[in-house]
């Protein structure tokens, strides 16, 4: 054991080579494990998953009677492919308005704990299926029309999901603009590179195992005509914790409804991933950032995502404990923004403030942004992308409540921007600060992200108003009281307002939408409309998010610290990260005014 530990630590001898050896050896072992997983464990596991439904059926034909042996074609069960990689079978008989006429499959096992409910659901499905088969025989044209309607419905919903997902992808550009504009010119190439690289990096991690952890046990994507192939989950005592199926989107996950869901969820994950790059900007090593990016897509984000969106325990609080509809988060105030904000908080805290930000007596120096125009353009790009982020989360173009999501998003962004501007102008300072206006609009949109489909327009205005005030106060508290250097305000915009957003569902949801959300009958109501349990579920979900993400952030940060180190040296930071980290200046050929880029102090 000691010899193994010594080998990992780089052996004895020359200390300058030791660190290099240690990093190389750890990476080599890690890569070997990944290769092992890729070529052996994962294919073995996914093929074992696919075998299970087929194993159940042949048992019934093990003992064929002699008279029936002459008809082997009718005896053999149909192969249990439930997925639709070609996208041609989906919608034909799977969705037809409110009635699902898909094949109900095998009857439930009487030994199952939940047999009564499962049997009831199975009987309903079987009845609908049998009725459809009857109608198919009597009126084939009606059946064909019904199938076409179902197919079109799936098509509309999938188009909606994909197009709104494209808008969310464009938010990557918005984040890149905002973050780079608020940092200094000497770090342009590096900040942009982080915001650029997080997009493919998170994507790959999410494809490899993130989506499987998050949606492995989700069931089906009903609006997309999805067959119920997402049925691999690990639970403890009936509480679902993590998905176990769908690595590399192989096996039954090779289905078009699953692919559309994967794409949509992946761009949301990328939004989370790009939040901490702003908080730790201007002093974060690129290699450390890349390790974080992989960790986020594979492990950090999907776990809590499963708990709220993937059928995990937070969403089960309603059906199991009667707390409203469980943790309800329409488009991700907690899953996306609060998670990102908590990571941003801990990374900014642990990596430390930028050189020159704080004086010895604790007073704050101003490090002005180098391009406010970039910040404003980026904010508008984000606002545009949010029109995909919020209404797209219904995953249904046929869901007319999307109009409410859009209007609420707009209103909250407006009141957020106005409130932040007025607060910092009249209450807190003497000039309306452009970067704070932008943060205010973003804060409004972050806060409305969870409740957008559940609240009325007036509530949306109030939510935005409060978020505008919260973001200004949070910036002051984080920078001055907590002494955490956050160049772009990521903690205040995403962390604080993500928390406010997820709690506001439990306050302002007015019961006009959300029937059967998280399998709980009835629409989603907040405490102001009669359901105090909803606020409780929201609080539990928020607490779970903060707790889990705190642990995950600290663990990942420490692991990266031990392998490659997180922070660049002071000389590199003062010179600017562009040349030392990325190899070339971002603004090569432009004269950079040294007097304006160094911290401006009292």
């Amino acid at each position: 054991m000691k010899q193994v530990a010594r080998w990992f630590a780089g052996g004895d001898g020359d200390p300058s080579l030791q660190k290099k050896r240690m990093v190389r050896r750890s990476l080599a072992v890690w890569l070997a494990l990944v290769a092992l997983g890729w070529f052996w464990l994962i294919p073995a596991y996914t093929s074992a998953q696919d075998k299970k439904p087929e194993e159940a059926k042949p048992a019934s034909t093990e003992a064929p009677k002699p008279a029936e042996a002459a008809k082997p074609a009718e005896q053999a069960p149909a192969p249990a492919t439930r997925n639709d990689p070609g996208g041609v079978k989906t919608g034909d008989v799977t969705i037809l308005g409110e009635v699902n006429v898909a094949d109900p499959g095998a009857p439930p096992d009487p030994k199952d704990a939940d047999y009564a409910n499962l049997k009831k659901a199975y009987d309903e499905k079987k009845k609908a299926f049998d009725e459809f088969q009857e109608m198919n025989k009597r009126e084939p044209l009606a059946a064909k029309v019904a199938a076409a309607v179902g197919k079109n419905r799936a098509g509309i919903n999938m188009t909606w999901t994909l197009i709104t997902g494209f808008l969310v992808m464009f938010m990557q550009a918005g984040f890149a603009m905002v973050e780079t504009g608020l940092c200094r010119a000497k770090n342009v190439s590096h900040t942009m590179a982080m915001n650029f690289m997080i997009y493919p990096l998170g994507m790959i991690g999410y494809y490899v195992c993130g989506f499987a952890f998050m949606f492995g046990g989700f069931g089906s994507a009903p609006t997309l005509g999805g067959p119920p192939v997402m049925d691999g989950v690990w639970s403890v005592g009936g509480w679902n914790l993590i998905g176990t199926k769908g690595f590399f989107l192989q096996g039954e996950f090779y289905d078009m409804s699953v692919f559309a869901l994967f794409f949509f969820q992946m761009v949301f994950m990328d939004t989370t991933a790009t939040i901490p790059t702003g908080a730790a900007a201007e002093r974060w090593k690129f290699s450390a950032f890349m390790l974080y990016g992989l960790a986020l897509g594979t492990i950090m984000y999907p776990i809590y995502g499963n708990w709220v969106w993937g059928g995990g325990w937070c969403s089960q609080l309603g059906s199991k404990l009667g707390l409203g509809h469980g943790t309800v988060d329409f488009a991700g105030s907690s899953v996306v923004h609060l998670q990102g904000g908590v990571i941003a908080f801990w990374f900014a805290k642990m990596i430390g403030p930028r050189v020159g930000k704080y004086n010895k007596d604790g007073s704050v120096n101003v490090i002005p942004p180098h391009n406010i125009a970039m910040c404003v353009i980026g904010t508008f790009i984000l606002a545009f992308g949010w029109f995909g982020f919020n209404p797209g989360s219904s995953l249904a173009g046929t869901d007319l409540r999307n109009a409410a999501s859009v209007v609420n998003t707009m209103l909250a962004s407006a009141t957020g921007a106005l409130a932040a501007t007025m607060w910092i102008w009249k209450v807190r300072g003497n000039k309306p600060d452009t970067s704070m206006m932008c943060n205010g609009m973003l804060a409004g949109m972050v806060a409305i992200t969870a409740p957008c489909a559940f609240v009325g327009s007036f509530s949306a205005c109030i939510i935005g108003l409060i978020s505008g005030i919260l973001v200004v106060e949070a910036v002051f508290i984080v920078e001055r009281k907590l002494k955490i250097d956050d160049p772009v305000g990521a903690i205040s915009v995403h962390g604080v307002n993500g928390l406010w957003g997820v709690l506001s569902v439990g306050i302002f949801a007015d019961g006009s939408y959300g029937d059967a959300w998280n399998t709980v009958p009835g629409t989603v109501k907040g405490i102001l409309f009669g359901d105090a349990g909803q606020l409780g579920a929201q609080a539990i979900g928020a607490l779970a998010c903060i707790t889990y993400m705190t642990i995950a952030s600290i663990v990942v940060y420490k692991v990266v610290e031990v392998t490659v180190g997180n922070r660049v040296s002071a000389e590199v930071e003062v010179e600017g990260l562009d040349v030392p980290e990325m190899g070339a200046m971002g603004y090569c050929g432009m004269v950079m005014d040294k007097a304006s880029e160094s911290p401006v102090s009292r």
Partner: protein
Amino acid sequence: MKKVEAIVKPHKLDDVKTALTQVGVQGLTVSEVRGFGRQKGHKEQYRGAEYTVDLVPKVKIEIVVADGAVAAVVEAITRAARTGEIGDGKIFVSALEGVTRIRTGEKGEAAV
């Protein structure tokens, strides 16, 4: 020969250039600089943190003139760059040791 360095407000550069060409100056060098004088700076706020704006953008014009022309040049710059407000700038005159034209190798007054 004397070197005349004038630090003026950036928006006055065109007026000063015109005045100098009218006086007969045949070459000048312009650079963008920052600085402060007796008025120091004033306090501003960015996202709630206070800071002092004391380095103000200015333009520095450097001209080399013959001894006899110094007074006319200084008067021309002063007339053109004056606004009457604080921060109009200053003019420094210093003695020059030597001048060389790089293309021909001429030295002294002929090189100006």
